[in-house]
């Protein structure tokens, strides 16, 4: 009897051991998909496309919002803690380890890799052909947008159009900016051809034909291809769905999201995807320079206008001033700003755009990092000013140029006088440049403006001042180096074929 028991114990042991067959070593994850079988359904393809949009969020999220960080490298404002390195750049200490540099470079390539993967595989997916065409068009826009964000800061970069593969792509050298530009144009043309003008409400936030054209217009403008800029801008106008939003301040309020002026914005939604704009914008980092740049209601600068009252500098200013900046002596969130507020300790000026507050009513703010407002990447006013600028550069200040700039100045809530007729090309150019600075203040466009205009070496070699004229940040700009950013240190080390930009 006992022997039987021992034998059964041994047998049990052996059975348990042998049941550990080699199949036990073949396990599969249950929370990720295998690449081999992924490209088989429309649902999967749609999720991969969503994955291509996702890298749009990174640069607009959290403390590192591109809107503000780029603004902080202009004479308009500064970065308080240099957390991203924007302040280092502004002070002339740009270097290849700054978080700002690293994040822009890596996140755009993340988007590029995803769009390349989608474009290379989507033909494997059995799905509605029209939808497939649209998916491809969306992806091509995104790829163009990501490349655009690279070349305008770093110059030529490795041009990669296939799915990520370290063996074939890891050591590729830089292409020229022109080579990349050509692909951007091709992608945008293809995207514009296949994208719808608008979407049903469930798809709001997807790329439209207008966005593709607008990005093309911007790319052309930045690269001084005036004709293309004009053609693309005109094509947008011809879509006949965009218009200036009458209320300039309201354009940036949560309740007016997706208004007819918005051509391309990044989608935020509480609680899943939120930002901290409400906090960040009202920190009080705006320099006196921007405050002073706003014209008087007579269209004259504060230095020459008879309307300017040094005792009440807020009075009779371009209405966009009070709709853009929080200033001492003005109303904000239902209260008079007295100067005791924390922001006033810094420069005395802060951005009002992208906060939840309006002037005359007290509102409940969102929790920090729980703001869900969409940052606007391209809006209709930019198209109008692109027309004005390109027209002036190409043909001088034509009637069309005047018409475009005046439309922006005549927005109902702005109502600035028309630009004086009969200006020279040079005079018109200066007016236009100021118009862009003021119209887009706090929207992150001015940095690219001063670099493409090559004025950065002048305006960025002037110190940033607070409301009383004290130096808050000493600025420095090296014209032989700073027009391009350095490629990240990490990438230079990992890819020996990458050539660093001069001076870094």
């Amino acid at each position: 009897m006992k022997k039987i028991i021992y034998i059964s114990i041994i047998l049990c042991g052996l059975i348990v051991s042998s049941s550990c067959s080699k199949d036990q070593l073949n396990l599969e994850p249950a929370d990720q998909s295998n690449v081999e079988t992924f490209w088989s359904s429309e649902v999967n393809a749609a999720s991969a496309l969503t994955g291509c949009y996702e890298p749009l969020l990174g640069p607009y999220r959290g403390e590192g919002s591109w809107l503000l960080k780029l603004e902080d490298i202009t004479p308009n404002s500064f970065e308080i803690d240099d957390g991203s390195g924007a302040s280092s750049i502004a002070r002339g200490d740009n270097n290849p380890t700054l978080p700002l540099i690293n994040s822009r470079y890596s996140i755009t390539y993340e988007g590029i890799g995803r769009t390349n993967t989608l474009l290379a595989n989507i033909d494997l997916v059995p799905m509605d052909e029209a939808l497939k065409k649209r998916f491809k068009a969306e992806a091509r826009f995104l790829r163009a947008f990501y490349y655009h964000n690279l070349i305008e800061y770093f110059g030529g970069v490795p041009l990669i159009l296939d799915p990520p593969n370290n063996n074939t792509q890891g050591q590729l050298p830089r292409n020229t900016k022109a080579e990349v530009l050509e692909v951007i144009y091709t992608d945008l043309n293809a995207a514009a051809a296949d994208l719808p003008i608008s979407y049903p409400s469930t798809d709001k936030g997807r790329i439209t034909k207008g966005a593709a054209l607008a990005l093309k217009a911007r790319t052309a403008l930045y690269n001084e291809n005036w004709t293309e800029a004009l053609l693309a801008s005109q094509a947008i106008i011809d879509l006949n769905i965009y218009d200036l939003f009458p209320d300039y301040r309201g354009l940036f309020l949560l309740e007016n999201e997706g208004n007819p002026e918005v051509i391309f914005d990044i989608q935020f939604q509480f609680p899943e995807v939120t930002n901290n704009y409400h906090e960040l914008f009202q920190q009080g980092n705006v320099f006196k320079g921007l405050y002073d740049a706003y014209l008087m209601t007579d269209g004259e600068p504060i230095t020459t206008s008879t309307l300017f009252d040094p005792g009440n500098p807020n009075a009779n200013r371009d209405p966009r001033l009070s709709q853009t900046l929080i200033t001492i002596g003005s109303m904000f969130n239902g209260e008079l700003v007295t100067g005791d507020e924390l922001f006033a300790d810094l420069t005395g000026f802060a951005f009002k755009k992208y906060t939840y507050y309006v002037d005359d009513v007290k509102r409940t703010p969102p929790q920090p990092n729980q703001s869900e407002i969409n940052p606007i990447v391209i809006r209709y006013a930019e198209i109008l000013l692109t027309i004005a600028e390109a027209e002036n550069e190409l043909n001088g200040p034509t009637e069309r140029a005047y018409e475009a700039i005046n439309m922006v100045r005549n927005r109902i809530s702005v109502d600035m006088p028309d630009v004086t007729p009969g200006l020279s090309k040079e005079e018109f150019r200066n007016i236009l440049r100021l118009e862009r600075r003021v119209e887009f203040a706090g929207e992150g466009l001015y940095y690219k403006d001063i670099t493409r205009w090559r004025t950065a070496e002048t305006v960025m070699n002037a110190d940033g001042l607070d409301k009383d004229g004290n130096v808050i940040e000493k600025r420095s700009f090296n014209a032989s180096r700073d027009y391009l950013w350095p490629l990240p240190d990490r990438d230079i080390l990992l890819n020996s074929n990458l050539e660093q930009n001069p001076g870094y």
Binding site: C12, L14, S17, Q24, L25, N26, L27, E28, P29, S33, N34, V35, E36, F38, N44, S47, A48, L49, T50, G51, I80, D82, S88, R91, G92, D93, P96, L98, N102, Y109, I112, G113, R114, N165, N166, Q169, G170, T202, K204, G205, Q269, P271, E272, V273, D340, E341, L342, L346, P366, Q367, P368, N369, D466, D468, V471, P488, D489, R490, D491, N495
Partner: protein, 1144 residues
């Protein structure tokens, strides 16, 4: 030591126990044997036998199988091969025995179910003329007491008349009584762990024999893979400690117990209650992956820290490939074998307790005075070129503050935040153990409680443990047993976590208010750029709730069965379970401006917690679970060819499965700080979770051959299959061979008086490391890449990591040479080891350029890392009358070198500032150095700056001058180099034990050498974004009048982080130290006294842990996370305890 009692008896379950237990059991039998037996079983058990021409051995088998009787005997004393025939019908066993052994040289005696066979000593053996009967002329009885040098009796010690097989064992009290041939014989007295002693009787009838502990424990048995091995016969490199070495020390996590073991580097970062496990590195850092050793508790993978240190019997570390190869694919970082305490037949209750106090060892030295701080802040701004008008602290504010401090400490506080946040903390420990059993079954049951408050506010932990161990001899062929261990721990810590809380304490300045007059949490009334959000540390620690509870279960059962042909089969089933629940309730706290009493406007809602957890007032709950299943089978065969030559072979297989899962949920929208369960919230509920499994199938074996007690050979293999690799790469083979030569057994050394043991050892073998993330060989598409369309979230997916399906094991090859020697009768012992440990095919994530879709790099088998080292141990012990001392120490020197990385350079950033690569690993250098500019003093003048390579626009006199390594005229990224060692080259420790009579003083010293660290965060740099100022800047920073300063000119870090505060070797800190880890004073009461009050043992002790530290690192305890660069871990503590232990 000459073997007196022949242990090579036939297979017998009893003998599977450790030698100590064997002896004590034998002793028990002998005691019973000498007593009057009450053979009730014998008197009622009848047996039927019909055997013709069988051996005595076979007959014994037959009786054992039919009945519950056990035979106990020594082979020499029984002629097992004698052929007998017997017929019996329902006969009583003693009567059968009488028939068998009548007229032989063997007598029998039945004691309960034991049958003792013993040689007849009084009669000549008439049946076997080859054996010469010992002529007995005068019968003398010698009695005596065997004890150790402390006077503690040694029960079970063997006492044998020299030159004969006549022997007895001492009883519980160390007393023996032996009949000897004459008054001039010599007694040979031996006991495990003690040097054998020859004591001439010289006519005395009562002897007192004191045994010395044997040197280096060469007679000891150590636990090795799937068994035990006599230390004498070891050929591999093994370090071990047993429970006695750890007694009474306030070890709160068992991993700390390994500190001081030769070749093992233990680093315990901080003393947080319930979270103070130490990292264990065996012989250096061999891989870029997980460097933790494989830890097995009673053969089952389990965390050592989940055991009560008091339940540990011994810890063995297998350091070289020869000893570890039997664990194959997981053994490359060494194997730690933990054995828990077993029961004994002796019924005993023991209780030990200690109470104590913990206090912080060191904190950063910073400027505390608020006025001085503000003035220096202004100075820093002025130095940078800020105009007088733009100072953050204009003179008017400083004056206001100075005056205000006198009258209104709530608005103008002068707080000592260290004093507020840290306090000495209480610790207590109680352990109760019951042991007992019978000759067949023994058990040990223990209960433990560790209750520890933390030196940091709101940190504490309680741990409850229970351990039950049972062993039972079912019959002569089957032994079963099991260990059940239970551990429940409850830990509390600040809601924001330790790191964040510590950072905020370092950031808090004396002008930061705690609470205002009205009891509300305060906020400073002026603004400091960069530090605009004062997160009141008092609120951070006192408010909210972070509760971590973990329940760990360990279950291991085995059965050992004797099979024919002397084969022993053992099956082991193990199951461990780990369930941890952590719940964090983030409260809503408002800070009120010290002056205006306004809730602070910096953050809407004034919730200082929001930015940490990214959520509102709410609950975050996470449940982690893991289960491991282990089954292993072994077959063991042992054969002695002669007294000095034997061979043993082990074969086995195992299957292990690891299941892990977690589930998290969070909820927000709570109405008050008093509601903190998940279902009390209403907004933003989020859930997540996943599970993974992995498995390992293995076959393994070992052969041991000892020839003439001089030549030792061993070979091991393991063949492992892992689910972590792709088909084709799953299986790995890990062999090892080793040999030893016991020179002292050779004739030419046998007579060298001063030499004890002398053994040469060498080994070679290969081990593996498979510990990487799961499924790193598959290309996977990950979810969670979501985006909003139409106002709702859409699921997005993307490839995130570039995986490589070619990956397989890392392979570590270790060669080891060792020499062990003892001298002067064990008074002096020494051991030296040299090893070469080379890891090839190191698995590591490869960084790939962002242009490849910014994918996470693949894990690849790239690189070779080499650790070469020498370990040296010396010991000396002696007794001078009532005074005894024992000094021992060891030192390990290891050079770590990355031999090959395929030409690549690994850049990491282990710092918390996110400012790009800070750590570097490159070929020809040690792992994980710092990546630093090279400082060359301070600039003294503008001319010097102008003539030096350009360092940036605002470089000023008093800034650090960096070397232009590439001579390109610009200080740029290329001027950095690998610098500083984050792995100590030397680790050493020594014990000094002094004892006088019953009083003993033990000190344990431990240290590391040639190691550096770096502090680039708060309290390392001046005014890290408006926070603390290291004291050195106040006393000794550069000014035109103090050009020889040790600190550069004072500036704000935020202004100069890219110029002056580039990462440079100027700030490299020496982190080597020597520490008095433990000092213990113990008084053992005399057993004679104790027996009167019914106690077996009573000792009282006091103890100090980390009492003294010698280091040049003043601001932090040097036993810290060296790579971290921010030092926000829990402070290290000194612990003073007082306690006693007793048993009865």
């Amino acid at each position: 030591m000459k073997k007196i009692l022949d242990q090579k008896r036939r297979s017998y379950p009893l003998l599977k126990l450790s030698l100590k237990m064997k002896i004590s059991m034998l002793f028990m039998f002998l005691v019973l044997f000498t007593m009057q037996a009450n053979s009730t079983y014998a008197q009622r058990t009848k047996i039927t036998l019909d055997l013709n021409n069988v051996t005595v051995e076979r007959l014994i088998d037959e009786i054992e199988s039919q009945t519950d009787f056990h035979f106990v005997y020594q082979i020499k004393e029984v002629d097992l091969n004698r052929i007998v025939s017997i017929q019996a019908k329902k006969e009583l066993v003693p009567s059968v025995l009488e028939r068998i052994f009548r007229n032989t040289r063997t007598t029998h005696n039945v004691v309960d179910k034991q049958i003792f066979l013993k040689e007849r000593v009084t009669k000549a053996n008439t049946l076997n003329p080859k054996v010469q009967p010992i002529p007995i002329k005068i019968q003398r009885v010698v009695t005596g007491l065997v004890m150790d040098k402390d006077g503690t009796p040694l029960p079970g010690a063997n006492v044998v008349e020299k030159g004969t097989t006549n022997g007895v064992t001492a009883d519980f009290d160390g007393n023996f009584s032996i009949e000897v041939a004459n008054e001039n014989v010599t007694l040979v007295v031996s006991y495990i762990g003690y040097a054998t002693k020859e004591e001439p009787v010289n006519g005395q009838s009562n002897l007192s024999i004191i045994l010395e502990e044997s040197a280096a424990g060469l007679d000891e048995v150590v636990v090795v893979g799937f068994g035990t091995q006599k230390k004498l016969n070891l050929t591999g490199a093994v370090s071990s400690i047993d429970s006695e070495d750890l007694q009474n020390r306030p070890i709160t996590s068992a991993s700390q117990a390994l500190q001081g073991m030769q070749g093992v580097y233990i680093n315990q970062v901080g003393g947080q209650p319930g979270n103070d496990a130490a990292t264990i590195r065996v012989r250096g850092v061999g891989t870029l992956n997980d460097n933790n050793p494989l830890i097995l508790v009673n053969g089952i993978e389990f965390s050592i820290n989940d055991l009560n240190p008091n339940d540990i019997e011994s810890i063995t570390v297998l350091k070289d490939a020869a000893s570890a190869a039997i664990y194959g694919s997981r053994a490359a970082n060494g194997v730690v074998l933990v054995t828990t305490k077993k029961g004994s037949q002796k019924s005993e209750i023991s209780y030990s307790t200690s109470v104590g106090i913990q206090e912080v060892i060191s904190l950063p030295r910073v400027v505390r005075d608020p006025i001085k701080w503000m003035e220096l802040y202004s100075q820093a701004q002025l130095n940078f070129g800020t105009s007088e008008n733009s100072l953050v602290f204009p003179q008017s504010l400083i004056d206001e503050y100075r005056t205000g401090m006198q009258t209104d400490p709530f608005t103008y506080p002068n707080n000592d935040w260290y004093d507020i946040m840290f306090d000495p903390a209480f610790i207590q420990e109680h352990n109760l153990r019951f042991t007992g059993g019978s000759d067949k079954t023994s058990f040990s049951l223990s209960l433990g409680l560790l209750d520890q408050n933390g030196v940091l506010r709101s940190t504490d932990s309680e741990r409850y443990t229970a351990n039950l161990n049972i062993n039972s001899i079912m019959n002569k062929n089957v032994t079963i047993g099991g260990t059940f261990n239970f551990s429940y721990k409850n830990r509390n810590e600040p809601v924001v976590g330790i790191s964040e809380a510590m950072q905020m304490i370092f950031k808090a300045q004396s002008y930061h208010p705690t609470k205002l007059e009205d009891g509300n949490y305060g906020m400073n009334f002026f603004d400091i750029p960069g530090h605009r959000r004062f997160r009141n540390p008092l609120a951070l620690t006192d408010e909210g709730d972070s509760d971590i509870r973990s329940l760990k279960l360990f279950l291991n059962t085995f059965a050992e069965i004797n099979l024919p042909f002397d084969i022993k089969y053992k099956i082991n089933l193990g199951f461990t379970s780990d369930a941890q629940r952590s719940k964090i309730f983030t409260p809503q706290i408002v800070l009120y401006d010290a002056k205006t009493k306004e809730p602070t406007q910096i953050q809407a809602g004034g919730n200082p917690f929001v930015t940490f957890n990214g959520q509102e007032r709410g609950v975050d709950q996470r449940d982690d679970e893991s289960q491991n299943w282990t089954i292993f089978n072994t077959l063991n065969w042992n054969r002695s060819f002669s007294d000095d030559t034997d061979l043993s072979i082990l074969l086995g297989n195992s299957y292990e499965k690891f299941d892990r899962s977690y589930f998290t949920a969070s909820n927000e929208g709570y109405l008050s700080n008093n509601l903190y369960e998940l279902n009390a919230g209403s907004t933003n509920p989020v859930v997540s979770g996943t599970s993974t499994e992995s498995s390992l199938i293995s076959y393994f074996g070992r052969a041991n051959y000892v020839l003439d007690s001089k030549y030792l050979f061993e070979a091991n293999f393991r063949y492992d299959g892992s689910s972590r690799f792709a088909e084709g790469n799953k299986w790995g083979f890990f062999p090892s061979v080793s040999a030893g030569w016991r020179l002292n057994e050779e004739d030419f050394l046998k007579d060298v008086e001063w030499l004890g043991q002398l053994k040469l050892r060498t080994s070679w073998g290969q081990l593996g490391n498979e510990r990487i993330g799961l499924f790193r060989y598959l290309d996977l598409i990950a979810p969670g890449q979501d985006y909003i369309f139409g106002g709702s979230i859409n699921p997005g997916t993307a490839v995130l990591v570039d995986n490589d399906d070619e990956i397989s094991w890392e392979t570590t090859t270790i060669s080891n040479f060792g020499l062990d020697a003892t001298f002067l009768g064990g008074k002096l012992s020494s051991s030296i080891e040299y090893f070469d440990k080379t890891t090839e095919d190191v698995l590591r994530p490869v960084g790939i350029p962002s242009q490849v879709g910014s994918l996470g790099g693949p894990i690849r088998n790239i690189g070779t890392i080499e650790n070469k080292g020498v370990e040296l141990a010396l010991g000396h012990r002696n007794v001078l009358g009532d005074f005894r001392y024992d000094v021992s120490g060891n030192i390990t020197y290891i050079t770590n070198k990355v031999v090959n990385l395929n030409g690549e350079i690994i850049l990491d950033d282990f710092s918390s500032d996110g400012r790009g690569p800070f750590n570097i690993t490159e070929e020809g250098k040690p792992i994980n150095q710092f990546y630093l500019y090279q400082a060359d003093g301070l600039f003294q003048s503008q001319e010097e700056i102008d003539s030096h390579a350009s360092q940036g626009a605002d470089t000023k006199p008093g800034y650090i001058r960096f070397k232009d390594l590439d001579n390109n005229g610009v200080i740029d990224q290329n001027d950095r180099m690998a610098d500083g060692n984050t792995i100590p080259k030397y680790t050493y420790s020594f014990n000094i034990k002094l004892a006088y009579k019953n009083l003993s003083l033990n000190t344990f010293w431990q240290g590391v050498g040639d190691v550096q660290t770096y502090n680039k965060h708060v309290s390392g740099v001046p005014f890290w974004f408006g926070t603390s100022l290291p004291e050195g800047y106040a006393n000794d920073s550069w000014t035109p009048d103090n050009r020889d300063a040790s600190f550069p000119i004072i500036t704000r870090y935020q202004d100069t982080q890219n110029t002056l505060y580039r990462d440079s070797d100027y700030w490299l800190l020496d982190a080597s130290y020597l520490r008095l880890k433990n000092i213990q004073l113990t008084y053992d009461f005399k057993p004679e006294l104790l027996s009167k009050i019914g106690l077996n043992k009573l000792s009282i002790f006091c103890n100090a842990q980390n009492l003294l530290t010698f280091t040049s690192l003043k601001d932090f305890d040097p036993e810290t996370e060296l790579l971290g660069n921010d030092f926000f871990n829990y402070p290290s503590t000194k612990i003073y305890t007082l306690g006693f232990n007793l048993s009865f």
